[in-house]
Amino acid sequence: MFDFTDEASGHEKCFMTIAQLPGFIDPKQVPSKKSPFSAILNQPFAHTAEVILPENVYTSIQASLDDELNKPQSARVFMCPSDLLEHEFFNAYIKSGNILMISEGRAGSDNVFTLHDGILKIELGREIFERTGLTGKPIRSGGRKHQKDRFLIELNLRLPSMLHGKKGFDRIVWAFKNVLNQSLAWLFCDLELTIGNQATKPITKHCPQMIDSDVLKSKLDRIHTPPLHGLVSNDMSEEDMQESCGSLSEWIAMVQLGSPRVSADDDVDPYLSRYRVPGADAASTMDLISLKWHGLISAKWIMQLFLCLLPSSAWFVLSTSALGKQAVEGRDGFTIAAAPNIYSSVASRANDREASESNNRYAICWEFVGATAIEK
């Protein structure tokens, strides 16, 4: 109607996947290629994880959740990039240990460092990149096409050649000493946490501030909940599937937001809002529980959480938000809704086999890409 172009909106998308969940999962051999497991493992850094489930389900699994799941532990530290390469820190955390680190800054405009699986990634502007003397590749900046403004340096610090005194390594040391020598705020998460010898850890030298990631539990009373049974079926067209999955994702987000519009007692005037819960005729009123963790959260922890929730027979929603998203088409996070019979297959000839399969659990996974967040 109005002649305004919006490029950012055109880059936004959402990958939706509907997959059957396996009946049994070995925690040591999680299927890493299959959705929704692949979505969890492909997002190394998360800042928030939220679980929404019916209250009666929560009371039945609360004990096992409390027992099996330690709260995510992370810390905030201020250090220079060169501190990463100091002997003690480097050997303890990068060569033999496994840590997750991410620096402050916004991709696309600041110098951003991430460290994950021993691979240090540095995103820089052209000028600083050229001064570092390291090799990297140009990446999209969101600016003009074919103009190389932003560069990504990828350093695998676990390679055998990455040792003090080696030529290639000394270049990195030089760059961190002479070019990238500003102190930054980092988030730090030790994936091989051993309790007891905290005081002697190399990180204590940098005075880490522990981030409190206790679970934030909130009761959501009398929520208008859409029916999940048979939300999608194999005789639906793709548009219909997209629409019903889209409105479910919107409802989940509305519950996360704590919007009064999803409350069963809401009677807002249509002048203010015309939002309706999807499938309102069949919707039921339920008491829900939201569990929320905030901090630097690893994919490993989210997988643990997901595996803890899986044995419960009812539905649940797991939603996470990513840290360190790229400037162009960066991943914002994902939401997984797992429920029995959310997908129904209507076969042309219904036989006994279909009937016996009717108790299968399915997961719908939404992966969000490219939203614009300006706020703090």
């Binding site: 705020a185 599937m241 919107e250 509305m254 203010l272 809002s273 967040a373 300006i374």
Partner: protein, 161 residues
Amino acid sequence: MADVQHKDPVEDAASSTAPKRKAPDSPSSTINFTSRNPPWTYLKLQLVSQPDATPSQPLDALSARTYLSSALSQFLGLTGTAIPIDILKVETGSLSTTKGASKHDGVWVRVPRDDGAAVVAALSSWIGGSGSGASAAWRVCAKGNYLGALVSGSGSDLFVP
């Protein structure tokens, strides 16, 4: 739990002897699609008022709607007021910052995706309010076509001590 663990290798062995058993399941197991054109655009807005203005009422849905309509009609005229806006949530409260407590009025809205750019342009150029002293403005904090991507914020608060 132990029962299941015992059962699993047995099933594996069965499927290895009879590989055909697995085949009919696989085609229907995963459905993928990409959504690019959802119906709505979601905005997280903040009402910014003059710091020296007298403390007014906390924001409610009706006054938020009035401010939004005012911004739209100022920039787009009568057609602007025809853009449907759904108010999803009004957030009020006082943020205690280092400079003292400041009032925080936020609102989450959704508008049709095609009108999203026009609404952002209208809100960001609006200066309004009643009287000469009490001027107000809208600040766009987040914008996206999927609400799920916006609700948790960007996480940059973790870096601030």
